[in-house]
Symmetry: C2
Subunit: 365 residues, 2 copies
């Protein structure tokens, strides 16, 4: 299902391939987030046009709305949202544990819907069942997530429970066309992370997510955890850092051997009027752009940069036009996908280190 | 600039062509409304894809935001919004007279911006100046608009003033590449409408808008006014009924000899979750559609109908996804443009009357 195509010589960066029933994903890859079955403001056609090969959807949100029965009757999530390429679904762990008043037992988690207050119960078995109905190509085990900071004792308990739940997930998962990934918990404690991957490897998942990072800890701390964890992870399985992130962070993590990323960051900042460029982030609402007839990014070839100016974008934001949110979201996702493509090219051509050095600072802008 | 290509034998419906610097418009035609330089939720690329040949923008809104200087520096409205086909701009008359506290003198109208309360003054000369800077292909005279009901005396005064203002507009309009249309006022009073067109024809405009209709009067009354007015209008000039409308109304008016239409109706109802179909309007949020895996309209070939189901659209609306507004807007405008195309075809093939009879009732649904 996964193979490393090329290993960078100076860093842990690597080029890989994941084969799924809906096609091949070349890694490192970034997944746009289609929480409720749509990447905010964008159509599936546009994501295909941008050449995204993998998107993420949330089992939790889709379970609450529209409900899995509707998606089942629609022929699965791919057909429901008209996306014929690979999908990864998150198990709902992160969302359930982000809610207040969630009650956790060994059996699973009781929670209240933030939409209507209704009571629900998620367990490893239920999460897998939901994800099987949704029919994503890659699905995730149901895990217990922790925020930052977390006490050692608490982190240990949660990591151990996540391992036990992973065993239960594996046991009930019947759809052999779906890849079920384990999730490594353990907060910022390297020892716990080490134990997590050892235990999960005994179950032998075909890939691993790294959970509870990028949840408020300093970036250096996140990178340290990754630095100590990646060498313990198998070479021949994809590594997915869940919930990251910013272009500069992604580059740092690729250097450290991470293969997959997801984040709502590019679309979220777009809706607030921020655009990614090769010279750093710009706030397009800013009055300095009012007569700027250049594109968002001179070096970007997306349709927004080819056809529209900063002055027009700024006007659309000021006039409250929804088109503003669309154009900025499109550009940011195009920009990030292009960055991933350039990064993969650099790895393939044995020049990742120099690419990293050149790109890193401009991205932080 | 305009010629009638084919006159229907049984009705006043006719096929025409308007030649502009940005291309040919085949009439009857409907203009999507790009109030602030964007058709709400849609890109210029999408309108081109739908094959719209003419859009409407508002001089009033663009004057207030972003301001004409910015559009001038951007190379005109066509370049600003990346639309290379014809544009018609409204003069601002309708908007200025829709505001509370507008003070009218023979010179022009003092008004306060609803955006920030700032004071502004519009006159025939200023409106033409603004529209020349925007650079639309068809521009409108600055007129005094009335709502419904309006007293005869008031309607007479306003019609006469609009004629005097039309003379002033004509006098200052220098850009020979732009067609300047006169506007026929006179509320529901046929006698006033008759006098208006007689006076305007002395100035000899290349086309005419009909103002202050579809402003709250019963539909029958609107049709009666049109029935009495159209025979008095020159055959060889385009007739534009401003602010209409609904598909069934458009069909009625084409039958009565109207060539051009504009309305925010299709996009406005789309954002509220209503979709036009060949079997009438449907409210896509309705729970009856929750498991409906058919397209919005089985007979529509737009990308929304080809790729997405009613169940998905309903879900997007319920989940508050902006994509819902886009897809519904796209479909409604595509649907209406297709209706216009079918109508033109029917006129060309001498079967407008039967087309009208067949289509009329289904549209009202």
């Amino acid at each position: 299902m996964f193979k490393v195509i090329h290993q960078d010589k100076k860093t842990r960066a690597r080029l890989g391939e994941i084969i799924t029933p809906h096609g091949k994903i070349v890694t490192p890859a970034f997944m746009p987030v289609a929480t409720a079955g749509a990447v905010k403001t964008l159509s599936s056609e546009e994501l295909m046009e941008m050449n995204y090969k993998l998107i993420l959807a949330n089992a939790f949100h889709l379970y609450l709305k529209p409900g899995v029965e509707i998606i089942k009757k629609s022929g699965g999530l791919h057909r429901f949202m008209n996306w014929s390429r690979p999908i990864l679904t998150d198990s709902g762990g992160y969302q359930v544990f982000s809610l207040e008043n969630t009650k956790v037992t060994e059996e699973g988690a009781d929670f209240h819907s933030s939409l209507d207050g209704s009571s629900h119960f998620f367990s490893p078995e239920i999460s897998i069942k939901i994800q099987e109905i949704l029919g994503a190509d890659i699905i995730m085990v149901f895990d217990e997530c922790l925020g930052y900071p977390a006490e050692y004792k608490e982190a240990k308990k949660s990591m151990e429970r996540t391992v036990r739940w992973a065993i239960r997930c594996r046991k009930v998962h019947k759809n052999s066309r779906q890849l079920l990934f384990g999730i490594i918990q353990g907060s910022i404690y390297k020892e716990l992370r080490r134990r997590a991957i050892e235990e999960l490897e005994k179950i032998n998942f075909p890939g691993y997510g790294i959970g509870s990072l990028s949840v408020g800890e300093p970036e250096e701390m996140m990178l340290e955890v990754v630095d100590s964890l990646v060498p313990l992870m198998p070479e021949n399985k994809p590594r997915y850092l869940m919930g990251v992130g910013k272009p500069a962070q992604i580059l740092e993590l690729i250097k450290r051997g991470i293969d997959l990323f997801d984040s709502s960051f590019p679309t979220q900042i777009a809706r607030n009027g921020s655009c990614l460029t090769h010279k750093g982030k710009i706030i397009i609402r800013d009055s300095i752009f009012k007569n700027d007839t250049t594109p968002i990014d001179e070096d970007c070839s997306c349709f927004v940069c080819r056809n529209y100016t900063r002055a027009y974008l700024r006007h659309l934001f000021n006039a409250g036009e929804l088109l503003a949110l669309r154009l900025a979201s499109y550009h940011n996702l195009f920009f990030l996908n292009h960055l991933m493509k350039e990064t993969r090219k650099a790895i393939r051509e044995n020049r990742f280190s120099s690419f990293y050095s050149l790109t890193k600072n401009t991205l932080k802008g």
